[in-house]
Subunit: 405 residues, 2 copies
């Protein structure tokens, strides 16, 4: 069996952890499986490199920033190989470039175009373990690129696809995907399996276990992903195709996200093209707009609210304030104290009334709902950040998420 | 004019130093010169990476060690480019591999076979500054290699040669090459110029300013090297061809080296092949033998002494003790408390009596000479380490090295 194992930064944070990870890989290898390892930078290395960059230059320059950050995986993968060689295993490390991970030319957020992997296959053919730097590749114009936050997960899934691996194991510092954040809800339960769609919704709404893009990649190529702990090595959560033979849980989990800010443009003339004008201008400034809500029109005017990552708020306000006078809106307000809570579950499709119950539970807790958005398997509400803990706990309990599948 | 500037680890030890170096490069560039920069890892980065490697694995594995250590230059060169871009200069960093520095396959001590430099030339043609990682290359079998300690100097000289640079500036934390170590001899004088041959002898006998291999390279290709300080930016020492029109100083400098140990094999039968057997066995164990002295034979037997780096002493003793019974030597002794002091000067060739005066000076200071070796422009004596300071000071003064050219 060919397995791709990915280890995050906390899994290889220090020499002791690196040796523990090496032992686990060697055990897997000795069982007769072929193993390709993807590794992130050690612990806080990336943050430390970012701090150095900020001290040297106030601006971030894409090409050089990528050159800088990719030093991190180089260190962790070389150390991991040394530990394995020490245990008698033929381990060979490869940079993204050496592994043939070809990307587009967007520095800091490159997309993988192709995975060649010839040198990895050579190592596997020689009964060795190949260790590949996560998060990085080489662009079509031969510059070093990075894939953005969570990029190592994407590297792992892309390698699993191109090498035809049977499973992609994502090792992290939590035992799997939970029905809610266990720091907020002590009764939160580890899920045995979730579908790609549920995982996508969770990743998009604050579930930090897997990066969104890696889940998209896994879904597109049907890669079986197993999220598990490199501290306890216990069975974790499988992310798989939805199994039509199984009855789906109505709700799989409650997620929350406290990284957004809300912007409201009041009294916007309700005529075609106004929203398009606004959101094109925001997109041109690379502002990541998340939820958008437009109220029904009253007397030819409406209010438009949207959420953006807090770090984009400054740019968003600049764009919106510039436009609001031109479109004769009455004013722009913003709130950085908001949060988003979401219910995610594939069974929601066939169970009406989930939204109603969610609103009732929040009302009973005296939590005001400021914005609502839904997909076929998710309902999200924007609330005040100070209400997050009681809201998540109440929903987790009301939907019996502590009770098991 | 095309200038190659190399900055050592202390020159780029922190963000403030990196910005100071960037400013100097930008000033040079604005004067109209083309600049290619070679940079070492920041401050103690390499030592820190070596420490991590030791904690992960007791052994050093060549390929992975090189992968690990090359992360250091990646960080410093990216930061240096960011600082320059911030100052409005088009700066682009290149790894050894990207710069086309092709080496043999000896990990940890690779030799440069070829410098392609196409991408560097492209940046220069676009009025940019190219920054190249020192100390590293890509082997003929496509693995990352390092050139050994001081390898960044070699990278700089090799680039200067292949790009046809008019001068190779080596920036360091001292103002140039001195007539003796200023920490030992406060009157030590900065030399305005030394010949390649003198610099080679100094580098080989403890003068730590330039790495031996980079001087060999510079001599073979007649690259003008200017060793100077990145802290004061003052004029330093030029390393050039010997100028036959100038009268050579008899002695240019006194060097000392306290990193060796001495091994003596007593009462060795004086027959052909014994020394060959011994030093072949040492070479096979990669023991770096430096000075070798064999006394005249007495009654068919002789003593052989040699010096080795202290870290090689264990291996050297193992080899020698195993052989000594086979060749019927009476025993092996060793001494880790020795040091080597050397007088270097091109004028020595035409001035007899330098050796005699050196021995007289040492005798007057009551310093015992244990071994002697000479070249046409150098005399070295092995003495006890505790005598180094008084020996170096006495020689510096006796040969008027504080008096100027």
């Amino acid at each position: 069996m060919l397995i791709v194992q990915k280890y995050g930064g906390s899994s290889v944070a220090d020499p002791e952890r690196i040796r523990a990870v090496a032992e686990h890989i060697v055990r897997t290898h000795e069982k007769g499986d072929q193993v390709v390892v993807v590794v992130s930078a050690m612990g806080k290395t990336t943050d430390e490199l970012l701090r150095l960059a900020r001290e040297v230059s106030p601006q971030a320059y894409g090409r050089e920033m990528d050159m800088l950050l990719t030093a991190g995986e180089r260190i962790s993968m070389a150390l991991l190989c040394m530990a394995m060689i020490d245990m008698g295993v033929h381990a060979v490390s490869f940079t993204g470039s050496q592994a043939g991970i070809v990307t587009d030319t967007v520095h800091g957020m490159a997309k993988i175009l192709e995975v060649k992997g010839d040198r990895i296959r050579e190592v596997l053919a020689g009964n060795g373990v190949a260790v590949v730097a996560g998060f990085q590749g080489i662009s079509t114009d031969k510059a070093i690129t990075t894939l953005g936050r969570g990029g190592s997960d994407t590297t792992a899934v892309a390698l699993a696809t191109s090498l035809g691996a049977q499973v992609c194991e994502i090792y992290t510092d939590v035992p799997g995907v939970f029905s809610a954040d266990p720091r907020l809800v002590p009764e939160a339960r580890k899920l045995e399996r979730v579908s790609y769609e549920e995982m996508l919704e969770m990743a998009a709404t604050g579930g930090r276990v897997l990066a969104l893009r890696s889940v998209e990649f896994a879904r597109n190529y049907s890669v079986a992903v197993h999220v598990r702990s490199s501290f306890t090595w216990e069975q974790g959560t499988w992310v798989l195709e939805e199994d039509p033979k199984m009855e789906q849980a109505i709700i799989s989990g409650v997620t929350h996200d406290e990284s957004d800010a809300k912007v409201t443009i009041a009294h916007v003339p309700d005529r075609p093209g106004v929203a398009a004008l606004m959101f094109r201008a925001l997109a041109d400034e690379s502002v990541n707009v998340d939820m958008i809500v437009q109220n029904v029109s009253t007397a030819g005017h409406t209010d438009i609210s949207f959420t953006v990552p807090r770090e984009d708020l400054g740019r968003a306000l600049k764009v919106v304030e510039k436009l609001s006078s031109g479109i004769e809106a009455s004013g722009v307000t913003h709130d950085e104290g908001v949060a988003r809570i979401s219910l995610v579950g594939a069974g929601m499709r066939t169970n009406p009334g989930v939204a109603a119950k969610m609103f009732e539970v929040l009302a009973a807790e005296d939590v005001n709902i400021e914005m609502i958005s839904t997909s076929s398997i998710r309902i999200s509400c924007v609330i005040q950040e100070i209400d997050v803990q009681k809201a998540v706990r109440a929903l987790h309990s009301a939907f019996d998420l502590d009770k098991g599948d």
